[in-house]
C-alpha cells in the first residue's frame, strides 16, 4: 500500500475505522477462558450447532446461486418496465431488520401462512424444521449474491457476448462459455458473502424456525442461549464463529485470482479475464 497518493487524514480515518472493527473482536478474545476453551467449544450442543450452521449455510448458498444467478442475469441483461423497482424489492432483505424478514417468512411459509397453509394440507410442514432455517438464511443472503453479480455483469459489458453471438453461438452457449466465465470471480465472492451472511443469520431464524438442538439451533442461536447461563461458553463459541468467517473470507480471496485466470471452457480466456479485475 502506497499512502502517498492519499491525503493523510484519509489514511488516519481509515485506521480509526479499521481499529473500530478489529478492537471489539480483540476485546472479546481477551475475555476467553482459555483453560476451558476446548471443552466449551467441543460440548455436544456446540458441535451440533456448528455442524447445523455449516450444513444450513451451504444449503442456503446453493439456493442463492440457483436463483440468484438467473436473477442477476435478468436484472443486468434485460430491460422491462419496472425493472428498477423489482431490483430494489429484491435487495430489500439487505436493509430489513432480520426479525422483520422472519415475520414475513412466518406469514408466507408458516402453518397459517400464504403458501404454508397449502403446504400443510399436502403434509409438508416447514415451521420448526431445518428447512425453515435454510429458507431464513437464503432470504437474507440472496441480495448479497445478486448485488455482487449484477454489478460485475454491468462492468464487463456485453461486448464479448455480442461477438460470440455474431460468430454463431446460441444463447445458452454465450451464457455458459462467455458470460459466466467472465463473472466467475464475482460469482464466487458473491456466493462467499452469501455463505457468510447465512452463517451469521440470527433474527429471521429465531422468529421463523425456532430453536432446537440439532435441528434449528444454529451457532448464533446457541451463542445467544449460552449467554444466559454461561457467558464464557458464549464468548468461546463467538470466537469459533469469527474464525470460521475469517477462514471463509480468506479462502474466497485466494479463490478469486485463481478464478479470474481459470481458462476452463473459454476460447479466448486471456483478454476477457482481465476485465473482471476491475470488478471490486
Amino acid at each position: 500500500m502506497n499512502t502517498a497518493a492519499l491525503p493523510r487524514w484519509v489514511v488516519a480515518a481509515a485506521v480509526v475505522g479499521a481499529v473500530f472493527v478489529v478492537l471489539p473482536l480483540a476485546a472479546m478474545t481477551l475475555r476467553i477462558d482459555w483453560p476451558r476453551f476446548i471443552p466449551l467449544v467441543t460440548s455436544e450442543g456446540a458441535r451440533a450447532a456448528l455442524l447445523l450452521s455449516l450444513r444450513t449455510s451451504v444449503s442456503a448458498t446453493i439456493l442463492c446461486v440457483l436463483f440468484g444467478v438467473p436473477l442477476a442475469l435478468v436484472l443486468a441483461r434485460t430491460s422491462f418496465p419496472g425493472r428498477r423497482f423489482v431490483r430494489s424489492l429484491v435487495l430489500l432483505p439487505l436493509v430489513l431488520p432480520p426479525v422483520v424478514g422472519g415475520i414475513a417468512l412466518l406469514y408466507t411459509f408458516g402453518r397459517r401462512g400464504l403458501i404454508g397453509s397449502g403446504l400443510a394440507s399436502l403434509g409438508i410442514d416447514v415451521a420448526f424444521s431445518t428447512t425453515a432455517v435454510v429458507l431464513a438464511q437464503a432470504f437474507v443472503a440472496l441480495p448479497f449474491l445478486v448485488l455482487s453479480l449484477e454489478g460485475a455483469l454491468r462492468t464487463v459489458g456485453t461486448r464479448y457476448e455480442a461477438v460470440g453471438a455474431t460468430l454463431g453461438a446460441g444463447r445458452w452457449t454465450v451464457l455458459r462459455r462467455i458470460t459466466l466465465p467472465l463473472v466467475l470471480p464475482a460469482l464466487v465472492s458473491g456466493a462467499v458473502l452469501s455463505f457468510a451472511r447465512a452463517l451469521g443469520e440470527f433474527g429471521a431464524t429465531l422468529t421463523f424456525a425456532g430453536s432446537l438442538q440439532g435441528s434449528t439451533r444454529t451457532l448464533p442461536l446457541e451463542i445467544y442461549l449460552q449467554r444466559e447461563t454461561d457467558p464464557d461458553a458464549a464468548v468461546a463459541l463467538s470466537l469459533v464463529l469469527v474464525v470460521v468467517a475469517v477462514v471463509v473470507v480468506g479462502v474466497a480471496h485466494r479463490v478469486r485470482p485463481l478464478g479470474s485466470l481459470d481458462p476452463r471452457g473459454t476460447a479466448s480466456p486471456k483478454a476477457p479475464a482481465a476485465a473482471p479485475g476491475r470488478v471490486d
Binding site: T3, V11, V15, G110, E228, V246
Partner: protein
C-alpha cells in the same frame, strides 16, 4: 470480508510509517490517529456527562433523603406492563422524579449491570439471576421478594390440537414450544413437567418467554409453556390452561436498589413503592402471586 480487508491495511500502514520515519514527516501522520481516537473518546464521555450531572445533584438529594431526580429501573421482560403502570404512579406520587424503564430478559439485564450499565433499581424474574448481582457486591442492601409467577399452558384461541392438559401437549404430533432450560421459564417448565410425570418433546426451545408466546399467537405452535401473566397480557390472542402442578415451577421475583446508584433515596423509594400496598395491588391485578 471487512475484517480480512482492513486488517492488512492496519499492518501496512504501520510499516509505511516506520519506513517513512527518517526522511518524511511521520509525526503528523502518527499524531492524527490518537487525535481521532481522542475525538471519539470525547464523544463517548460527552454522552456520559449528562449522567454525571444528575449524579452530582443526586448525592446532595440523598443526604437530605429527598426523593427527586431521575432513576433507571432494569426490570424483567415479564414485568413490562405492570412496571410501566407502577412507574407512572410513582412519578405522580413524587413530583420531580422520573423513572426510566429498561425491560429485557433477566440474564441480559444482569450482564449489563455487571458490565457497568447505569441502573438504579433491578427487578429480576428469578432469584438465581439476582444472586449473580449479589455475588458481584452490587446490591445496595438485600433483595426483597415482591411477586411470584406460575406457568400456564397457552394454546391458540381455536385450540387446534384439542389440548386440555400438559399430558395432551406431550402427545406425539402436537407442536409444543417451551423456553430453553437455561432461562428461568425453561427451568420452571422442566420442574412442572417432572412434577406431573410428563415427558415433553418440544419442537423448539426458545430463549425467551416472549418468543414462546409469539409462536403460539401466530398459530405455528399448538401449545406453549408461558407465565400466567403472559397469557393474561396477551388478551384474547391465546387461551390459558391451568396446570395441575404449576406450583412446582413457581418463580419468585426479587427487587433491589443497586449500590452504585447516585439516586439512592429515590431508588429505595421506588423499591418500597413496588413492595408496598399499591405495588401489590397492581401486580395482583396482572396475575402475579404474593411472595
Amino acid at each position: 470480508m471487512i475484517i480480512a480487508r482492513l486488517a492488512p491495511g492496519v499492518r501496512s500502514h504501520g510499516r509505511d510509517a516506520r519506513r517513512g520515519r527518517p526522511g518524511r514527516t511521520p509525526g503528523r501522520q502518527l499524531c492524527a490517529v490518537p487525535a481521532a481516537v481522542a475525538f471519539i473518546v470525547l464523544l463517548l464521555t460527552g454522552c456520559g456527562g449528562a449522567r454525571d450531572a444528575t449524579g452530582a445533584g443526586g448525592s446532595a438529594a440523598a443526604d437530605g433523603a429527598e426523593i427527586d431526580g431521575s432513576i433507571t429501573v432494569f426490570a424483567a421482560a415479564s414485568l413490562t406492563s405492570t412496571f410501566t403502570d407502577l412507574a407512572g404512579r410513582f412519578e405522580d406520587g413524587h413530583p420531580g422524579t422520573e423513572v426510566r424503564l429498561t425491560f429485557a430478559g433477566s440474564s441480559d439485564l444482569v450482564t449489563q449491570i455487571i458490565e457497568g450499565a447505569p441502573a438504579d433499581v433491578f427487578a429480576s424474574a428469578d432469584t438465581r439471576t439476582m444472586q449473580r448481582v449479589s455475588d458481584e457486591g452490587l446490591l445496595a442492601g438485600t433483595a426483597v421478594d415482591f411477586a411470584t409467577n406460575t406457568l400456564q399452558l397457552a394454546v391458540p384461541p381455536d385450540n387446534p390440537a384439542g389440548i386440555s392438559s400438559l399430558a395432551d401437549a406431550a402427545r406425539p404430533g402436537v407442536k409444543t414450544v417451551v423456553c430453553a432450560e437455561q432461562v428461568p421459564c425453561g427451568a420452571a417448565a422442566v420442574a412442572v413437567a417432572d412434577a406431573e410425570g410428563v415427558d415433553l418433546d418440544p419442537v423448539s426451545e426458545e430463549s425467551s418467554v416472549t418468543d414462546v408466546l409469539g409462536k403460539v399467537t401466530s398459530g405455528e405452535a399448538d401449545a406453549g409453556l408461558v407465565y400466567g401473566t403472559d397469557v393474561r397480557a396477551a388478551g384474547g390472542s391465546v387461551l390459558g390452561i391451568d396446570l395441575a402442578e404449576a406450583g412446582a415451577g413457581a418463580t419468585t421475583y426479587p427487587i433491589t436498589a443497586l449500590a452504585e446508584s447516585p439516586e439512592a433515596a429515590t431508588a429505595q423509594a421506588f423499591v418500597d413503592f413496588v413492595t408496598g400496598p399499591e405495588g401489590r395491588a397492581v401486580l395482583t391485578a396482572a396475575g402475579f402471586g404474593a411472595p
